[in-house]
Each structure stands twice: as C-alpha cells, then as structure tokens.
Symmetry: C2
Subunit: 197 residues, 2 copies
C-alpha cells in the first residue's frame, strides 16, 4: 500500500492533522473524492509555485501588489495597520470594519532567534512612513511578549516621524493569536483601540 | 489572492477541515512549508491515479493484489474477515492479532439507497466461499442497523456453504469508563454478555 502510505504521511504534515485524521482523509479521498484530490493537488502546486509577497505590504499574493495595495481608496486612507501574518489580514478583512492599508511583518522581533528589525521588514515600513500620507499606525501585533515588544519598537519608529500610533485593545485574549479570534471580538478590538502617548 | 483562496477552498474538501483550519493550513504551507506542499500534491496525484481495488479482497491498493492477498500464509489461514472499509482493515492490522485474510465490502447493504448484495461484492465473496479453503467467516461490519443487516445476510450465505460464521464482540472499550460509553455500545455490551464459570 505504498501510494496510500505516502499520502497518509504527506497529509500528516498539515497543521492539526495526526495519523488517524490522515488515514481518514486518505480513505475518504480515494473511496469517493478522487476529483477533489486532484483539484487539491493542483491548488497546492499553483499556490506553492506562484504565491510570493506583496511588494508594498509583504502579505502573501500571486501578484506584484496584493488587492488591498492595488486599491487607491485604501492606500489614501491615511491608516496603516501592522500585523504579524497574512492570516491576521484575512481575519481583520472578514470583520469589514477596517478600510485602511496593511503592513505584514511575517513574524515579530525575536532577538534570541536573531530576528531583528530588517528581518520583519521594518526598513521597508520606515520608508513608507517617510514617504508621507500615513496619519495613524495601528499596531495589531499579537498580545504576546514578542508581539508587544514589536509594537513598542514600531511605535518608537512612528514617533520619530511624528505619526500617531494606536494599539488594538479590547477583546483579543492575552496569549491568544489574532488569526483565531472571532469577528465580533476583533471588530471590538479595532473600534476600542487606544492612542499610545 | 485567488491562488490562496483556491487552496483554502480545496483544503475544505478534506474531512474534518473547516474554513478556519483550511486558512491556517494554507498560510502555514505557504509561509514555511512549500516543499511539503509539493510532496503532498504529488502524493495526492499518484494515489488518485494509481490506487484501485485488490482483485481478491477489494481493499484499496495500487497493485492487482494487496499485500495481504499476496501472502500465502494469510491466504491459507482458513479465516476470512469481512469489513466495510479499507480503514477497518488498517485498524485491525494495527492490533497485530489477526493473521487471516479479508473481504472489504466498500459499504454495506442499504436497500433504500439501492445498494444490494452485488454492489458490495457479495457475488465475489460467494465465489470465494465456493472455492473452498475457508473455515470461518468473521463478520466485522459496523454495529449499526445496516452493518448488522449486512452481517446477517453474509451469515446466511456462509451457512449455505456450511461455513462457520462469527461476529466480533461489541461492548465497552477496554480502559473505557461505563459513564462515557454511548447507549448503543452499552446495549451491545449487555446483550453480548458472557456467563462467568
Ligand atoms: Zn499589499
Ligand atoms: Zn487483497
């Protein structure tokens, strides 16, 4: 059963999928969902080969600029929201409450792991703050030690350019990850954001 | 983000994977596991294109005969265990307690859905009973209404060929607590009770 074993093993690489789930998925795909299995295979290949980073906000996209960076209305909003991951962008977009632009760090500051400002694109962010047109930096990094440290670092950066900063506040559970918060909570976190002085 | 959206949607076709999990999987694959994504894509294509049914026991395999049907020792054991799915074979194999052969119905009798004996391969099973060499048919279909009906039907078939049949025991799982076992299982545990001598 080597093709079957290979598939079970490969499915185990998905986050949250253990041996038992992988077996169940494999048998279900092979017993009655072969077309869906092929569609999934093609989607994996297309995404793995074509998805890169947006040249402006660094989120994942298959184009030079993501659809949000392509929107003149959102680019001229004066708001830039800094998040850790593309999943955070998606979560915030699903609230439909935010109409500004984003900057995606693809991580957070982590000196012990050798991850400094340039590794999370803060040189690029600083250029954007310098270019003008940004009135408020909304810090939506995770409420973890690293996320808070990263938010403070960016707040300092914005202050040097005399740009207001705010931190999303209400609702996001401490220690939780933004990508897993429900829409209502995340909406409250945005509307209840506090200015950092 | 269409390649990303396509991947999220395709991952949702996996059993037990909802929108949130699919998003998490997509971002994790694209952020740091592209090679694993490609390996998974290849495993899906290989399995979908090459896996068929064993010509003897009907389980899923990429060969004409599965490895169990290829084993002379297991084929000459005189035991055939009838199960509903290839996942059942895998579960039984993992106990290492059974050394006979299998017959995989790929379903169960379901007259209301138009699934009759030939649809679950009982014509093939009858040929095998006729050929001789089988001393006991072990019925390991699920303890559901359809599984029980299917087991009874096959028991009648075996009886016509004067072959012993047995049904695997259903009851409280070893290590399980009575209070957490569902009613059906507990019912089986009672009706299947054995006298202590
Ligand atoms: Zn962008
Ligand atoms: Zn076989």
């Amino acid at each position: 059963m080597s093709a079957i074993d290979d598939l079970i093993k490969a499915l185990c690489c998905l986050p949250g999928v253990g041996q038992k789930s992988a077996q169940r998925m494999t048998f279900q795909l092979l017993e009655r969902r072969r077309e869906e299995a092929k569609v999934l295979a093609q989607a994996l290949l297309t995404a793995a080969d074509n998805v890169g980073h947006c040249q402006r906000c660094r989120t994942l996209t298959e184009n030079t600029l993501c659809s949000i960076c392509e929107s003149p209305k959102r680019q001229s909003s004066g708001l830039i929201c800094v998040v850790e991951t593309p999943a955070d962008v998606m979560a915030i977009e699903q609230t439909s409450q935010y109409q500004g632009r984003y900057f995606v760090l693809m991580g957070h500051l982590s000196p012990l792991d050798g991850i400094g400002p340039d590794d999370i694109g803060l040189d690029v962010l600083e250029q954007q703050l310098q270019q003008g047109g940004i009135e408020e930096v909304i810090l939506a990094t995770n409420p973890t030690v690293e996320g808070e440290a990263t938010a403070h670092f960016i707040a300092d950066l914005a202050r040097q350019h005399r740009i207001t900063t705010s931190r999303i506040a209400h609702g996001v559970p401490v220690g939780g990850e933004l990508g897993y918060v429900d829409q209502t909570t995340l909406g409250h976190a945005f509307s209840g954001r506090k200015r950092l002085d």
